[in-house]
């Protein structure tokens, strides 16, 4: 990291969206491939490229590979997703690249998540008579099926962290260990992390159930439990995420999202 990276900030000095972006950004490693969707992942990728991951290979669903994220894209097909990119192809090529095993990380969102990291972005209520019709899978199911490690970014509350989804849009570990492979999904793939405004979760290596790994600044284990409607495992040693640094916030506000479209 360059500059005064270790100057941390108190909660009052950043908002929850900024926290999510900075937390997601820190998960993005240099020289890795990441399937980047609309919204927070775009900002996180742009921030990561400016800090610790200048050669993060951002891959966008509709064809952009290896763009330099100087300007923030507003949609997964727009020009900034292939600005000075190495290749600009189309959705079949990109998702087949993931299907072929070339994309390490995938970022996901959703309206609900369950203990196995399955996600719902289709309907709330009954499928045939929905209470709320959500946008649908979009690329979610594809990312969750093919990328080696998926990272879900989602706001943390009991309506979202549920024991049972109304609809499994995107596969996590499905019903548990071995279920992905039995369904025909590529072996070795699956959920890796869940990033929320309260915490970062991983998955138990054996049971594949969601497990608290790290707390966001000022948050307690109890806060996380009380916002989760299922029995969340807790790692033996729960880490404490440092708050966004001054440099992260400065870059985020002055360069990544200078028009304040998201933050």
């Amino acid at each position: 990291m360059k500059g005064n990276a270790h100057s941390y900030n108190s909660a009052a000095e950043y908002n929850p969206t900024e926290l999510l972006i900075c937390t997601a950004s820190r998960l993005m490693q240099d020289n890795t491939t990441a399937f980047i969707g609309t919204g927070i992942p775009m900002l996180a990728a742009s921030l990561a490229q400016r800090l610790h991951a200048p050669n993060l290979v951002a891959i966008f669903e509709f064809g952009g590979t290896g763009a330099i994220l100087d300007q923030l894209p507003m949609a997964v097909g727009e020009q900034n997703t292939f600005h000075r990119a190495l290749a600009a192809s189309g959705i079949c090529d990109i998702v087949e690249t993931a299907q072929r095993g070339f994309i390490e990380y995938g970022f996901l969102g959703g309206a609900q998540i369950d203990p196995y990291g399955n996600l719902n972005s289709t309907v709330i209520g009954d499928y045939n008579n929905p209470k709320v019709r959500l946008p649908g899978s979009g690329g979610g199911n594809d990312v969750g099926s093919h990328c080696w490690q998926t990272i879900a970014i989602i706001r943390h509350d009991k309506k979202r962290f549920v024991e049972r989804l109304d609809f499994v849009t995107t596969p996590g570990y499905l019903s548990g260990p071995g279920a992905r492979e039995r369904a025909g999904l590529p072996p070795g793939t699956g959920p890796f992390r869940v990033v929320t405004n309260l915490a970062v979760m991983g998955y138990h290596p054996i049971s594949k159930r969601m497990m608290l790994m790290a707390l966001q600044p000022g948050i307690t284990v109890e806060d996380v439990h009380s916002n989760t409607a299922f029995n969340l495992l807790v790692a033996d040693e729960v880490e404490h995420n440092p708050p966004p640094t001054t440099q992260e916030l400065k870059l985020l506000r002055e360069e990544v999202d200078r028009d304040k479209l998201y933050i």
Partner: protein, 319 residues
């Protein structure tokens, strides 16, 4: 090779690849002038009840001038391949959609589509069948290849598959389960491109989305282009032709045809206008007012651009 699972969703369009071949055989292979207006193209080639698809996605290179004309002419009971933002939102707003294969209809950073919610939750849309994004693109790809299905590893294990019309079979080579997606043949495909000649040879700059696949999956294909160019321009760089002329039924010259969406290397999206739609679409009444203002009350794309204003359009041009 056993069928392990069959999705319970209905096939909104059958993958009749033999009938598609017969149709394609009858399309003219002569080089004939296909230029016409949006009004002519939609009147001639879009029927009530047709299954239609648009390309690209988001608010990027979207065939808005053609979509506005469908709304203007009130083509109804449409079945659509539901992946998009503004273009499909307009069809939903105007109550023209009866059934859809959906993957994502929403407003991206601005959230869910209120028009979709109203149409689905009210029951005005009779059938919704869910798929993943790539699944719909792959279904076009199967049709483009001229085969009735395509094997993929998306959708497995999920309700997305369960409620779709896909099937899971045991792969006869590996013994593992694999998902088969039925080909999706469109009655009408709509694509906006950077340039096309009068015959329909069309070229796209930047990412190609799923233009190649959708063009080849369409029984009738309507192209709108920022610019109509001489055929010599095409012939000087044939490796840039994404859509060869014989696929195409109509070529419409539509500068700023993607407005309020963007056109890469040409103009940016009109963020203020998109926000105007996002706000308008929240309520039935304001939705109708938007349609009145920008579609029903203007005669054509040219008048629409006048309404938006030359100054505004110039601001959107990329350097």
């Amino acid at each position: 090779m056993q069928v392990i699972q069959s999705g319970v969703g209905e096939l909104i369009q059958t993958p009749d690849i033999n009938a598609f071949r017969e149709w394609n055989r009858e399309k003219p292979t002569a080089l004939i002038d296909k230029t016409m207006t949006e009004a002519q193209a939609i009147d001639r080639f879009v029927n009530d009840g047709d299954y239609i698809g648009t390309e690209l996605y988001g608010t990027v290179r979207c065939p808005m001038s053609l979509v506005y004309e469908i709304v203007r002419q009130g083509k109804k009971d449409l079945r659509i391949a539901g992946q998009g933002v503004l273009e499909l939102d307009m069809l939903l707003a105007a109550h023209l959609v009866k059934a859809l294969d959906i993957t994502y209809i929403g407003l991206e950073v601005y959230g869910v589509s209120n028009c979709l919610r109203r149409e689905v939750e009210s029951g005005r849309i009779e059938r919704v069948v869910d798929w993943s994004n790539a699944a719909i693109a792959w279904r076009f790809k199967a049709a483009a290849m001229g085969v009735p299905f395509i094997p993929v590893r998306s959708m497995l294990g999920t309700d997305t598959l369960k409620y779709s019309a896909a099937k899971v079979v045991e792969c006869p080579f590996t013994g593992e389960p694999i998902c088969l997606l039925p080909a999706l043949i469109l009655d009408v495909g709509l694509i906006h491109v950077h340039r096309a000649d009068q015959y329909g040879n069309a070229q796209i700059d930047g990412i190609s989305g799923f233009a190649a696949e959708l063009a080849r999956a369409s029984k009738r294909l309507l192209i709108s282009a920022e610019e109509i160019v001489d055929t010599e321009t095409i012939r000087s760089q044939p490796d840039r032709t994404t859509i060869p002329y014989y696929l195409v039924d109509a070529v419409v010259e539509a500068p700023f045809g993607s407005h309020p969406g963007e056109m890469c290397y040409a103009y940016m999206r009109d963020e203020a206008h998109i926000r105007e739609w996002v706000e308008a679409s929240k309520k039935e009444r304001s939705t109708r007012e938007y349609l009145d203002k920008y579609i029903y009350s203007v005669a054509d794309h040219h008048s629409y651009l006048e309404l938006v204003g030359q100054d505004r359009l110039e601001e959107l041009r990329r350097e």
